[in-house]
Amino acid sequence: MSGISQIFGKELTRVFRDRKMIFSIFLLPVIIMIGIMTLVSHLSSSAQEDVKAHNSIVYIQNAPAGFEEFIKTVDKNCEIFAVNDWDSAKEMIKNGDADLLIEFPEDFVNMVSGYHAGDVVPQIKTYYNPSEDYSSAAYEAISTGALEVYRQALLSQRVDDMASLSVFTVNSDNPDMIIQDEEKAGGKMLGMMLPYFVTILLFAGAMGIGTDMVAGEKERGTMASLLVSPVKRSSIVLGKVFALMTISGVSSVIYVGAMVAFMPQMMGQGGLGLNLTLNSKQIAMLAALLISIAFLYSAIIVLFSVFAKTVKEASSYVMPVYMLILVLGITTMFTTKAPQEWSYMVPIYNTSLTLQGILTQEVTMMHYGMTLGITLVLGAVLVGVIAKAFESEKVMAI
């Protein structure tokens, strides 16, 4: 098969020698992704900081003596006001000018201290606005925090042994509450995201270059010089498809590498908190599958480019395919049921499923083999179709 390596080499040279191309294919998408993710996490964490820094504004109706102290124990910076006009206080909550409104019954202290079995239990009402971040935070801290502390304090005045009232507690001292296989959990998380990213990356990385490699060459009139040379049509096709595979592979490796390296930056301090370790069998399975996916995607892109006269036309053919692949990727991301047997027969969809399965260690060898086989066979069939199309003078427009 002489000619394949020359054509492969030429296509790679074209890309790797051109600084502008290296930048736009390999670096720009990574920079954009890291930039956006960093910005998003920065904005959300600074929004959190802002909420923390804010002094809650609390209005209290009929506040019993000493209640302020309890609020100050959970939120020492909060500003407390007495309600003068009930309606305007409510209005302030609605507008976001105040964060929390607490309403005590008028003779709350007497009701509590003079309580006898059978009396009406006094009720404290709190009002807040869930669409305001400050208000929600104040509700969390004060309504569920401070009031509970206050209740305990009042209770202890009434009962000597508080513990006798508890009956039981739930998880008050149990740091090992969460039981999960860290590896499987990491796999689940990544298994959900990875097939999706891989599809985007492998396809997107090959799209621009692939259309230029074939439709662009037709448009520029440079394809014909290869067609009058004694290389087989199939060698031309394979040379180009392999070059495209390499380029999309390199770009996705850079992309994934950057994602891992910049994960802390992008996710803020917390991170995912999940670690993933792959064993060598998983790595081998992943590598073989990813290579075969890159092969299939490259063949698809070249196929559509062959039938286009210009790069523009080719892009408009390839775009819907890209959309379809994105949708299939998303579908696997949100499927929780165990996949049906036949889904491993559906090209492209099965690769997402299997990628997921390898990471969660749930894929069987049978399914893996089926997916790999179908992907490679379909890729080879497409290469055959492309080579046939190369024979056609109508398609090549020469």
């Binding site: 440079t222 010089s225 009058v228």
Partner: protein, 257 residues
Amino acid sequence: MIQIKGLTKIYKLNKKQMKESKTTNPMKTAVDDLSLTAKPGEIYGLLGPNGAGKTTTLRCISTIIKPTKGEIYVSGHEVQKEPEKVRGKIGFLTGDIKLDPQFSVDYMFNFFGRIHNIPEEKLKARKEELFSYFEIKDFSHKKIKELSTGMAQKAAIAVCLVHDPEIVIFDEPTNGLDVVTARSVTDYLKKLKNEGKLVIISTHVMSEAEKICDRIGIIIDGSKVAEGNLEEILHETNTGDLEDAFFELYRNKKGGK
């Protein structure tokens, strides 16, 4: 040796092409039952007006397009049966086949040399010979897109001759070249002929055909109306120069309709 036997090429026109050529007939016969033989050691010229079918004929010989009817043998290989063998024997140059604009002349020369499986040593020697003959050395490191029309044409000629083909097919070889460059190209074609190669060119320039072609085939509307060396054609048409002969044949063909 090139033998064309009863070549017919019919293009199927799409709607846009039909509109452009103001016809409702979707079939366009570009070459109509054409036969000819060209032998090693001669320059054969296809002479004809615009749209006569010259380029179409040369493309059929070069396996770029397929004949609708008829057979073409190139060094004994039939173009439809053994296209790869034919491609190995020929060097084909036409205005609409271009070299990759992002690459240097050097790179393209080496690339096609390797495509043709030429050993490195021989490739070096070929490069030395062709680059110095066409005075390419000064700009061989430049990208094709930075070259002038003439420079690019010279580069294209050198690249298409990299494998020292025994048959050279040039579609309008001097098109767009100044007289100096045009002369160096036609001189090189003569040199090839003297080395025993077969050169077949197309042209609509009478003086070029007169000066360099050993035999001329005149094509009008896809069919051959005369063939032979200059003397034979002038004798046959009873005229004094090729232009008069051409018009005589043109009138006969068009008037006969």
